[in-house]
């Protein structure tokens, strides 16, 4: 709640009048969890939603709608745009935004809009792919360090700190420079950049979870350490990991765009977003739309992911008294 924290006692949490937001997205995501711990059904889920700090629905709905649109662009670009974004049309070169070309055309007469739509798939592939890969690896390293502690934690975390000292773009750059320029290698390089971030955050979370009573209780019950980690520590670390991952997809998209902007992106026929921005560099004075619209699209993607991540965190945390 805003302002003074009116603390409704633990036994009243179910009645806490916080949010009434109805997150329809939630079942889609949460339903996939399976053995990692199915969150509550029925009344408890209602409470979980109620406990999330959702101020308005509109922001979230816009963000989700935008992301769904991008996914649509990625999966079925033909529905949203013409069939060939690389079609050159010199007659229509450097035309401003119009009914025919929503975002104008570049110096070759290609529709910026079409290029953006077709560029969505590589962008999302890199964004989601690298986040999943790097996130999973980083999370496991972090959780292991946090839970096991001792010399393992010490050594591994110092290595992670070394990686963290370099900005993500730079790390990705180092790997990209050494590898052939394919999409998969770009995913791999950006994944490496994401590992230290996840490792740090998840280590902190694991340390917190480790000291919670129910972990002690599980030990006292006689559970094997392996079981405790898999069934209790990891599921309780998922919430910050998911929030971080959602936001990081945006970061990964920006890193990929930056790499393309620098000319280090994968060499594909269909230009991706970063290349588009770079393309319009020289024309920025008069024919601003060539760079600006791709920039706007990328920025909105990052913002939407950030909003989604924020709301997800609130929704995923189980209610604590």
């Amino acid at each position: 709640m805003d302002g003074m924290d009116v603390r409704v006692p633990a036994d009243q949490v179910a009645a806490t009048p916080e949010a009434g937001a109805d997150m329809r997205v939630l079942p889609l995501i949460l339903g996939r969890w399976g053995p990692l711990g199915r969150p509550a059904r029925g009344p408890a889920r209602r409470q979980i939603r109620q406990a999330s700090r959702v101020r308005t629905r509109t922001g979230l709905i816009i963000a989700v709608a935008y992301l769904v649109l991008l996914v649509g662009w990625a999966i079925i670009p033909g529905v949203f745009a013409g069939t060939d974004p690389t079609a050159v049309n010199p007659l229509a070169a450097l035309a401003g935004p119009s009914v025919h070309n929503f975002f104008g055309t570049d110096q070759y007469g290609r529709s910026i809009y079409d290029e953006l739509v077709y560029g969505a798939r590589p962008a999302l592939e890199v964004g989601v792919g690298s986040t999943l890969l790097g996130g999973a690896a980083g999370s496991l390293i972090g959780i292991a360090g946090g839970y096991l502690g001792g010399w393992f934690d010490l050594v591994v975390m110092r290595l992670i700190d070394m990686l963290l000292a370099l900005p993500g773009l730079l790390l990705a750059l180092i790997f990209i420079a050494a590898l052939p320029r394919t999409l998969s290698n770009e995913i791999f390089a950006i994944a490496i950049a994401s590992v230290p971030v996840f490792a740090r955050v998840l280590r902190g979370q694991a340390v917190q979870v480790r000291s919670r009573r129910f972990v002690d209780a599980a030990t006292v019950s006689g559970l094997r350490r392996r079981t405790i980690v898999v069934r209790h520590v990891i599921p309780n670390c998922v919430a910050p990991a998911t929030e971080l991952a959602t936001v990081y997809v945006g970061v990964a998209i920006v890193i990929a765009a930056s790499l393309s902007f620098l000319g280090l992106g994968p060499s594909e026929v269909v230009p991706d977003w970063g290349t588009l921005i770079q393309n319009g560099q020289g024309y920025i004075d008069h024919d601003w739309w060539i760079s600006v619209f791709p920039g706007v699209i990328v920025t909105l993607a990052v913002i939407s992911l950030s909003v989604l991540g924020d709301r997800l965190r609130g929704a995923l945390e189980p209610v604590r008294g």
Binding site: A10, G37, A44, A218, S221, G222, L223
Partner: protein, 344 residues
Amino acid sequence: MTAGMGFAPDGQARADARPVVEVSDVAKRYRLRGGRGRTVRALDGVSLTVGRRRTYGLVGESGSGKTTLGRVLLRLEDPDSGQITFDGQDWLARRGEPLRQARKEIQAIFQDPLGSLDPRRTAGYAIGEALAAHGLARDKAARERRAAELLGMVGLPADVARRHPAELSGGQRQRVTIARAIAVRPKFVICDEPTSALDVSVQAQIINLLSDLQESLGVSYLFISHSLATVRHIADRVGVMYLGKIVEEAPADRLFSAPQHPYTIALLAAAPVPDLTAISARQNGAGTRHLGGEVPSATVLPSGCRFRLRCTRAQDVCAEREPPLGEVSAGHTAACHFPGPGPV
């Protein structure tokens, strides 16, 4: 030695068979962070015995070490020195897999029931997990059946198994943790402030439940609490801890009717009683002042008796020699150079 001897509620002394737990001179130190190299002596030579089907009440304020003793008994931490015997066997010698298997004999319920249950799991899962860890139920159906039985034993309807901790009230949650603890048929349950976080009207229910379970299952308890009143209603034998040591130990009735150590007397005097006649009697009659001073830092203990800085009976000898736990009457010991009743 009165090891294992307890007094049944009807007043008859009963000599027990071998005690369930024997703690002998256990010590545990923590090193403080901050580079000053100071240590906290959380446990400074604690010994006690818990008999079969008996409840030992361990009382103390913060810094007394009572919680640490619970954790040591549960092998969540290991002591620096001392011995612990469980059911006649060396408890500290067990490690690894044998320790894990032996854990079914010593269970625990903790203060914060919301914290001691995984918020992401249902109550039924928590109970079933304990059963599965010791191979006590063949398959999922058997676990569910047993969980329903156990919930019934703690006074909860079977459908609670499907609920998450957040959906239950504080009292219900604590009953679930009790069900989980007794699921593996332990001989000994450590209750660490089990009622402190509960509503007043629910505390009595939980205490009654614990008593009933002791009768029906024959389990022994170590009941750790800061609340003397609560301990009085469940313990057979009581030990009072101060700064890592037991300073007085006696059968429950004796401790409350005739305390000998000034700290015990002060604790009893400080506990607010919901009865006007009792209060005015205390204030007019005995003229007990409330205990002054703060609990001293556990890193720098006073020389000699650790209680002497707050004690009005303190004399020179109290600063020179630490008083040992001496017997003041049968089964009643106190660590004081001048034990006896009367004002602090």
